[in-house]
């Protein structure tokens, strides 16, 4: 037998099984709107897409710049002057760096006619020429031993050379390609060879440590955006003496202040009165006098209140900027400007709980008017800076910058407004490498 309870349940369930009312048309319209908005995400976020592409380009440029400097050598020209003295061939090597007109002339070795193969080692750093050892080597025509082609005057002649490592060029032999014979100098012949040099260009790395307050430039009726305080490290990669790309990470502690409306009932003391719990009579001088024995009674009542409580939400964000900049030097100072996108990731949040003083309180409604920040925000940084050089490698930095937040800081649909801020950054800059 079915219990009455179960029976009613079944009736209700069956009745509602056929309950299929038509929803209002605007519901689908809203759904479609949301789906369309998702579809056109790329279109709506074109600025972020562009910023992302810019980041990729800058990072790629930095990457290739780094590797091209490290692994690819510059070509410079060197001049070799060869002299012949008393049937003994002396090889005098003059290295002239065309870039700075400095030259070094060194007698590297005196060698006999029947021992023409020399192996001077040229260190590129200081242009010193060192003869490491002389060795004979049979060279057949067409043999390619990391050949350096002579550029001037001696097209038929080649210098075979090996690059021992990044810093050394060793000339293993000098000989004539035309005859397969060792080359005999014809006096003050000057010819050029191409030489791979490891001398780096002006690209280098700099690291800067920053601390910074950021002041909000946005006013809102119900939210006070508090100042942010940041600490971070950013690395700059210089492509040459002027242009650089900078990226890094900053921890930014920030917050908002606002209000919450609290609707609550508290048990309040309304007052006291004297309650007569006994009356006695006495006769004084023949007059009957009543004595009222009283006790104080407190009157409490449940009172509904609406109060406004100040609340402060705090956040910790990691800000990752990727900036393109230009730097120049004036005496003891450097100045620079930069711009680029930055992304802020929320790492932690501390959300204030509205509170009301008092013990016996029942909260009926809590309307926290302070919205919560989104977990991610997108910014544009535009700024400049002045460096005071402390030495060849270090400098002090002061850097004012403007920051524009593309999207609202808040996820709440009622608080969709863009914000901006002014940051004053103080830093210590250190140049890496030579």
């Amino acid at each position: 037998m079915i219990k009455p309870d179960q029976h009613i349940n079944n009736i209700l369930r069956q009745k509602f099984q056929n309950f299929e009312p038509e929803p209002p048309g605007h519901v689908w319209a809203n759904i479609e709107k949301t789906l369309d908005a998702e579809k056109s995400f790329l279109v709506r976020n074109i600025i972020y897409v562009a910023a992302g592409i810019l980041v990729i380009i800058l990072l790629s440029a930095g990457y290739f710049s780094f590797y091209s400097t490290s692994n690819t050598m510059e070509t410079e020209q060197f001049y070799l002057v060869m002299e012949k003295q008393n049937n003994i061939e002396t090889t005098k090597v003059v290295i002239e760096e065309e870039q700075n007109d400095k030259s070094t002339v060194t007698d590297i070795e005196t060698i006999s006619e029947d021992k023409l193969l020399v192996e001077p080692v040229i260190t590129a750093e200081n242009n010193e020429i060192i003869v490491s050892e002389t060795q004979e080597k049979e060279i057949s025509e067409g043999e390619n031993l990391n050949m350096f082609t002579l550029k001037k005057g001696f097209n038929e002649t080649a210098v075979n050379a090996n690059i021992d490592n990044m810093n050394k060029l060793s000339i293993t032999s000098i000989y004539s390609l035309s005859y397969g014979q060792p080359y005999s100098s014809k006096g003050d012949d000057i010819f050029a060879v191409s030489k791979d040099n490891n001398k780096t260009n002006s690209g280098h790395w700099e690291n800067t440590f920053f601390i910074s307050p950021e002041f909000s430039l946005t006013n809102h009726d119900s939210i006070t955006i508090l100042n942010s305080y940041s600490i971070g490290m950013e690395a700059s990669r210089y492509f040459n003496d002027n242009w650089f790309v900078r990226f890094g990470i900053n921890a930014s502690y920030t917050g908002d202040r606002g209000f919450a409306k609290i609707d609550y009932i508290s048990n309040d003391l309304m007052g006291t009165y004297d309650d007569v719990y006994d009356v006695s009579f006495d006769t004084i001088n023949g007059i009957i006098t009543p004595y009222y024995h009283t006790k104080s009674v407190e009157v409490w009542d449940s009172i509904r209140h609406i109060s406004v409580s100040e609340v402060t939400n705090r956040y910790l964000f990691a800000q990752v900027p990727v900036l393109l900049g230009y730097k120049n030097s004036i005496g003891q100072f450097n100045w620079y400007v930069y711009s680029g996108p930055a992304i802020g990731f929320q790492i932690a949040k501390w959300i204030d709980e509205p509170s009301v003083d008092g013990k016996e309180i029942e909260i009926l409604d809590l309307n926290n008017k302070l919205p919560i920040r989104s977990t991610i925000n997108y910014q544009l940084w535009i700024g400049g800076g002045i460096e005071y050089k402390l030495g060849q490698k270090s400098s002090l930095v002061i850097e004012p910058s403007y920051r524009y937040y593309f999207q609202s800081l808040y996820s709440d649909a009622d608080y969709k407004f863009n914000t901006s801020g002014f940051a004053l950054r103080f830093g210590f800059n250190y140049k890496l490498g030579h």
Partner: protein, 182 residues
């Protein structure tokens, strides 16, 4: 309309025509659920809208286990529950006393009632009672399952249902008395 694997694939590919057809097919049934769970018609509209958006957004999570309509139904029910969870956080308190009252009513009254009337009396229940009532009586969830969904104990769920039924019985009795007078 047949909801087969091919159709689900079209939905997963965000085919708009398929989405429209799917909405037209299932929205009346799901709207009925929303109306039962909601405090008001406006809330029901919001829940339906939010629920279908969730269905379309998370359709790739449907693994093909069980009925697709059942999965959609659960999504809508969860949306309705979450819709009122905020309210619960704001001080909705559950009393743990268990009132044992017989849930006896004249079923003929229920059978005679229109959906509108039934929805009206269900809607008049406090949110907590209504949610448990809907989940248990109409959707067929056990008290254990309801406890897990709502984050309450099994006994609390039973207590809520008992109170819901008492309140409903009172309403039904009033209607019956009125009918007799008429």
């Amino acid at each position: 309309m047949k909801i087969d694997t091919a159709f689900i694939t079209r939905l997963q590919n965000k085919d708009r025509k398929a989405q429209v057809a799917f909405y037209k097919f299932l929205s009346p049934k799901m709207y009925g659920i929303c109306l039962r769970f909601a405090n008001s018609r406006d809330d029901a509209n919001d829940i339906l809208q939010e629920g279908f958006i969730r269905v379309f957004q998370h359709i790739n999570k449907f693994r093909g286990e069980g009925s697709f309509e059942g999965w959609v139904r659960r999504t809508i029910v969860n949306t309705a529950i979450n819709y009122y969870k905020k309210e619960k956080k704001r001080g909705y308190k559950v009393e743990l006393d268990y009132i044992k009252k017989k849930y006896i009513s004249d079923e003929s009254v229920i059978e005679k009632m229109s959906f509108k009337e039934l929805i009206k009396i269900i809607r008049e229940l406090p949110t907590g009672y209504r949610t448990v009532f809907n989940l248990n009586v109409i959707e067929g969830y056990t008290h254990k399952e309801i406890g897990a969904i709502l984050g309450i104990s099994e006994n609390t769920s039973k207590s809520q249902l008992s109170r819901a039924k008492s309140a409903l019985q009172k309403k039904l009795h009033e209607i019956k008395t009125k009918e007799n007078i008429d």
